[in-house]
């Protein structure tokens, strides 16, 4: 079972995709160009503070709003290893899996976590915080296949015979 530890950033409920990346930056040529503006309407300094391997913890309805796929792409590009939220909006959920960003649904850890804490994630099994374990549900099989392929592009490349399984 894959396991990793990360430092936590805490956000609230209803973090919409306009907060994750405002429309005015969507026509920048690459996700790397957009990355510095991630979360800028809410916390302009956050994109510069996140380090590779950090974990985002949020409340309900994370990723609500527009279909912009740059939202999960930017979160991944900032180095976030996984998001733990009470719930996700559906387009964001699909986009994240398709880009190989791990999402974990859990409603308890938000009450106990503080920004800067360390969380241990055992994928498909549990989250540990300050010695306490929080069980998590595994994802459906078809979604795990896409995640394990490294995202939908890689899964399609395999289908089209341009990437070895």
């Amino acid at each position: 079972m894959e396991q990793f530890t990360g430092k936590v950033w805490v956000l609230g409920d209803d973090i919409d995709t306009d907060i994750i990346i405002p429309t005015e930056y969507l026509a920048l040529p690459t996700v790397e160009d957009m990355k510095p503006y991630g979360f800028s309407p809410l916390r302009p300094e956050l994109a510069g503070q996140i380090r590779k391997g950090d974990i985002l913890v949020a409340g309900k309805n994370f990723g609500c709003g527009s279909s912009r796929e740059q939202a999960p792409e930017i979160i991944k590009a900032l180095g976030i290893r996984c998001v733990i939220a009470k719930s996700y909006a559906r387009i964001f959920f699909r986009n994240s899996i398709n880009n190989g960003l791990l999402l974990i649904e859990n409603s308890q850890v938000q009450e106990d976590v503080k920004e800067g804490d360390s969380i241990i994630v055992k994928v498909g099994e549990s989250i540990s915080l300050n010695g306490k374990d929080y069980p998590i549900q595994p994802l459906p099989g078809n979604l795990m296949e896409i995640l394990e392929a490294g995202g939908l592009v890689a899964a399609m490349q395999k289908r089209n015979g341009i990437r070895r399984a």
């Binding site: 907060i19 559906r90 399609m156 289908r159």
Partner: protein, 411 residues
Amino acid sequence: MGNTLIEKIIMKNTGLKDVAPGQIVTVRPDRVMIHDIFIPFVAEKFEEMGFTKLDDPDKVVLIYDHLVPASLVEDIRHFKIGDAFAEKYGLTHVHRSDGICHQLMTEQGYAKPGNIVFGTDSHTTTYGCVGCFSTGIGYTEMASILGTGELWVRVPETIKVELEGALPDNVMAKDVILTLLGDLHSDGATYKALEFTGSGVDAMSVSSRMTISNMAVEAGAKCCLFRPDEKTCEYSKVSMEDVAWLKADPDASYERTVHYDAKDIKPVLAAPSRVDNIHKVSELEGTPIDQVFIGSCTNGRLEDLAAAAKIMGGKKVAVRTIVTPASRDIYKAALKAGYLETLSKAGCIITQPGCGLCCGRAGGILADGEKVLATNNRNFLGRMGSSKVEIFLGSPKTAACSAISGRITMP
């Protein structure tokens, strides 16, 4: 056990004899819609995936609207990439300045009753107004559909929304969907289908139903369906026999039913900065505003412009007022009916059909500390300019009355 409307559409598409909520099935969409903001990413992912041809070019509609007309020189890149993709892969359905994608998809007959349609914009739920299962997806999934012609979906649970009776004169479909958002909240229908029924819905025009299905995604809904009736058939140019199968069974199973008496619905606003922060207009009356916006794919149709023109006729607006028809056809019809002249004489700025102001890119964006009363669908932070703009969402009637007084005003 019978089936809901969304289950019927999925069964028809897949050929399955029964489906149940939670089941994962593969569907073959009848159409897909790609808009200008995301076409560069769709094109890139499509080729990166190793595809060399489209599964069916006739199923693909490419619409330029978010960046029309261009406000930054970089925007042109999106049109060039779109044009090149259309040329290379044989797309024939390309709209470069005809209006907002969600208006054009039903207006131009691309999304029909009983169809399954996916689009790269979240407000793709709009086509449920004609009984089409339509929903938004990301550009990577769009690229995979272009190549394979198929997509997996989870059969959603259905929430039934009953609206019975007649709406008061000062209440519009916008007030109905805002009221529902206040009750369901912004995640109350996540992953689920909404199915609207009742005499209040039967009495509505297809345009009014479109306002509701457009904003259903603000409750997280996967789709928002209206059973087609004679009005739908006339609008979508199909026969009643064509849509006879498109109805929920009497013993269909709903997750829950929400009931409204139309006469009890009041003019309401979504106050900053959440779509479910719903207040009666009467509670906020008198709040000074800096700008009014009437238009968008939510409320830029002929009946919306007619309502605004009726209120503004012979009067002058007290604040900057931007009017954006949802499509070129609506623009032309409003011109012919005299609505645009009335609105222009009242001092409104009438823009070309497009998404500019609603998505905060162009055509009337606002500055720190300003307040706007707008008829579009989102009031998120930074949505219409600076992240310190306060956006109130309301109906065209509320917007028009408030434009005249310069304050939030009861219609």
